[in-house]
Symmetry: C2
């Protein structure tokens, strides 16, 4: 595949699913000790990756769950938060300032924290009560975090008796390194063609729903805006019809990220609209991928990871065809503000 | 004031605060009967107006609160939702399809519903267990709904012993019709100048935080996009630094909606950044308004209403100076989709 190291991808993703034993031990220990609710805390991409799990938990479990933006969370007194709260945070570098501060804040309040990091010896790793370590790089980070979160969150739900199919789900996750490689391979052509057609576009609408919404939000903000300096509007499929639709003209680029959970009809409705009113419609639909070794009943949970992983193929095409490195920044970690 | 009927505004807003007696009765009845949690459900502008209250409740009360997008909510099984849930929905016309369907869904599940509508005899009014009626028009609807929600939500919190200053707060709300008129009057000049300067701008970034975030989101989507066909990106002040900032150039329009709650430092940080990197910075800050008769301790709760009300002055200027009626739609209620 273009600009891609398959061996490295296998190493990272197998490393993530390889944490299963450690994760299950943590899950059992925490369940035995008890906790009242779950806080998922992050910023930008690292909060966006939590939104799918917030969605999946609220539709699967009675465990109260709150996804919170790190920098805002530390400024107020969230009345559900306390010593019997469980917190999950992630930072690939382990140094993201706002996430590290949130971890400190949680520790000071006596909550139990779990950190997902790329390496030990980093500030976040040193602060959290439980630390999961799996080395990855930018292009494999979200695959790694997703796989660990599937194990961790669904293990917690299983321990509450709310996800009895956990063992089979966790077994099937072991197929994900090859499943994701298949997904990426199948996306090579479409991604290249998509970028070839739209590389000079200066504005995209991105639409998603349900467990995929987090990826829609973050691909718009953290890739197209941050890494490619292209303007975007990310809008939830249900909300699209309450304003943003009025902007659509025949030459408006609309990118649909369609997953397989209960909210799929909302995306189908946007698709019907878009087919009528724009000539620039692009649909990336998880349903079009085989996912060998994954049971039908688990596909809906995996939609956001499939979307994240296939869009990595779009990103490398954007970088190459637009001659704009994904790592170039005007401001972030470049100037003080 | 330009294109504004002060008497009508007074009638609508006094009508809203005049519901106090009825609202307090409902609040006491519901509290005596008991309920487990609160669901705030809507679409577009009517969910955006709920976000401030979700924020205020979670920072003031241990009452579990969930703001949900109507069309998505009815598709899944929210595990916190049930017969002991209390639901608030609003629709000026009482006919918004998705809101009416959500009300039906909630009724079928045995939850208790409260509807805020412009008139009786409409589908939403007929469906809800408790109905608050206050006639308003598009330009006064959000003032009316805000005032009713302040009374209703804070009465519920007071009845739980979590907002002991309720009676004084409710007394002071009676000053809001004149306070808001003062705010609007003071905004006439700045709004006209702002629109004069930016009327041909084709893209704006809108930034807000905390209790004001809902207004930021909805002004971008439901006014600039829907009613003026201008592209926008609305982004939370904390999230701005995780992607969107990279788009900022000297000629990028940034609109800051700054309120007075705990999250204000996040807006100040965006302002420091914006002052350095763009020449097109517009700040609308609630702190610059006097709010005669309102105690300092209550100002932070009222920030989103102040922002909503002052931006109505911007909207009428956009309509006039851009020669684009606020009521013109390409699609909404115009075509089938």
């Amino acid at each position: 595949m273009f600009n891609f190291n398959e061996d490295n991808f296998r190493k990272v993703t197998k490393g993530a699913v390889g944490l299963r034993g450690q994760i299950e031990e943590i899950g059992e220990k925490l369940t035995a000790r008890g906790y009242k609710n779950l806080f998922l805390i992050g910023s930008g991409g690292s909060i966006a990756i939590m939104y799918p799990f917030e969605y999946m938990i609220k539709t699967t479990s009675t465990l109260p769950v709150y996804a919170e933006i790190a920098a805002e969370f530390v400024l107020y007194d969230h009345k559900q938060f306390g010593p019997d709260s469980l917190v999950i945070l992630s930072s690939l570098s382990g140094t993201t300032k706002e996430t590290v501060e949130a971890a400190k804040f949680c520790k000071d309040k006596g909550a139990t924290t779990i950190g997902l990091v790329g390496e030990l010896g980093t500030p976040l790793a040193d602060l959290t009560d439980y630390t999961l370590v799996n080395y990855s790089e930018n292009d494999t980070a979200s695959d790694s975090i997703y796989l660990q979160l599937y194990l961790l969150i669904f293990k917690l739900l299983a321990a509450r008796g709310e996800f009895p199919e956990y063992a089979r789900f966790a077994d099937e996750l072991e197929a994900m390194p090859e499943v994701l490689l298949d997904v990426k391979r199948a996306t090579e052509g479409p991604a290249e063609a998509f970028v070839n057609k739209y590389k000079d576009e200066t504005y995209h609408m991105l639409i998603g729903s349900g467990s995929v919404w987090g990826e829609t939000y973050s691909y718009a903000m953290c890739v197209l805006e941050e890494m490619q300096w292209i303007r975007t509007k990310s809008v939830h499929a249900a909300e699209f019809f309450h304003g943003t639709l009025e902007l659509v003209e025949r030459d408006t680029s609309m990118i649909l990220m369609t997953g397989e959970d209960e909210s799929r009809p909302l995306m189908e409705r946007v698709e019907r609209f878009a087919r009528k009113y724009t000539d620039k419609l692009s649909i990336f639909d998880t349903k079009e991928y085989e996912l060998k070794g994954i049971s039908d009943q688990f596909r809906k949970y995996l939609s956001p990871l499939i979307i994240a992983s296939l869009f990595e193929r779009v990103s490398v095409q954007l970088e190459a065809q637009r001659n704009h490195p994904l790592s170039t920044r005007r401001y972030y970690r470049t100037v003080e503000y």
